[in-house]
Amino acid sequence: MNLCYAIPGKVIEIDGEIGVVDFGNGVRREVVLAMVSAKPGDYVLVHAGYAIKILNEEEAKKTLELYSRILNLVEGR
């Protein structure tokens, strides 16, 4: 158990407050989604069995783009 660690995973299905989240490599777990309003397909950060945040895909891309620009590199096209 890692108390400030959180792992990203993809929400597969939702049943009330509980969802099934896919962490890749065939690892799926039940996760409590009560603290976020996630829908299937969203990526959530999961900490100790609870989703604490929906990850923002747009921002993940933007940060990379911003830095590619700073570094005058064209990456990930």
Binding site: P8, I52, L55
Partner: protein, 392 residues
Amino acid sequence: MDQDLKQILRHYRNPRLARNILEKIHEIAKDLQVVRIMHVCGTHEWTITHWGIRTLLPENIDVRAGPGCPVCITPASDIDSAIKLALDGVNVLTYGDMSRAKGSRMISLEDCGARGGKVGIVYSFMDAVKLARSNPNQEYVFLGAGFETTAPIVAYSVLKGLPENLKIISSHRYVPPAVGLLAESEDLAIDAFINPGHASTISGMKAYKPYFDEVRKPMVFAGFEPLDVLLAIYMILRQIRDRSPKMENEYRRAVTWDGNVDAQKNLREVFDFDDGYWRGVAIVPKSAMNFKEKFSKVDARKIYGLASGKGDHFPSNARCAEVIKGLIDPPECPLYMKRCTPATPIGPTMVGVEGTCRIWAQHKIVGVKCRSGVCKIDSESSPRTKGMLKEG
């Protein structure tokens, strides 16, 4: 066009980007004095150590691990209290590494389990609730440690209603005031902070604003991939070069200014934020999440008359307090990798999976070289350094 997030995140380990950012970092650092950067999250320490980031940085850039390991800062007396309950026949539940941290008499919950104490390990607070529910005739106490990442889970469950037979010792701590305290410390003389990524998804950047206003030192919120950390360091150096300290967000895919407002509301509804002890560090104002009066019926401290958490209690010679504060590096402790190893941990920072000693030990870091007041890992002993980032 629509790349899956997993694919995008892969770029955060891109060696070419990493090398380029490192070049920029070296360029800026040439014109700077010694810069001391502190992070306060065990997962940042893991990223930095695992990818050998310290060995790739310029000589004058010193990245220090602050108190970012919940198990390490949980007061010895709270561990003692839990042990006493377990020996008195109460079922004590906690997280795995928490159960291995030793209290003031150098006994852990795990040790006390071996002596007949009733101790159980849970992965999540949800498991504790389930256990209590399926065994209504048993008495359960959950030792809850962790920061604002973990505490909302407990707050949420308390608001929803716990089974009657489950009580909680809340040792939860709130990070922003601790960063404020560290930023003011003259002993540490920290120039800038890498703020915790996951804890800040809850608190939001705004929670750090009063402390930033006080000290006006760069604070960058960073994610946990190697590129995230390098970008954060780059942002910090740029701010220092331009003499314009800011709160900046590198981890925009997860951290926002406002944070998780619902989680904050739950926290404020359930807990008072009192002055509280951080083991090895100090009393940190308004950082201890204690149950409000109206939740007394779940508060194990009130029900069993347990003292509020305090006390360092490290064995003599052990330099845990200095490691936890980020004053020294683990190899400077005489017990490191001698009497104190991951298999035979003495202090809590060798126990907690986010403890600095534990992380350095797992990466077999044995030496540091010190020059002009900055200590660097001996590069030969950091196996990962020669991996991805250098050769790509």
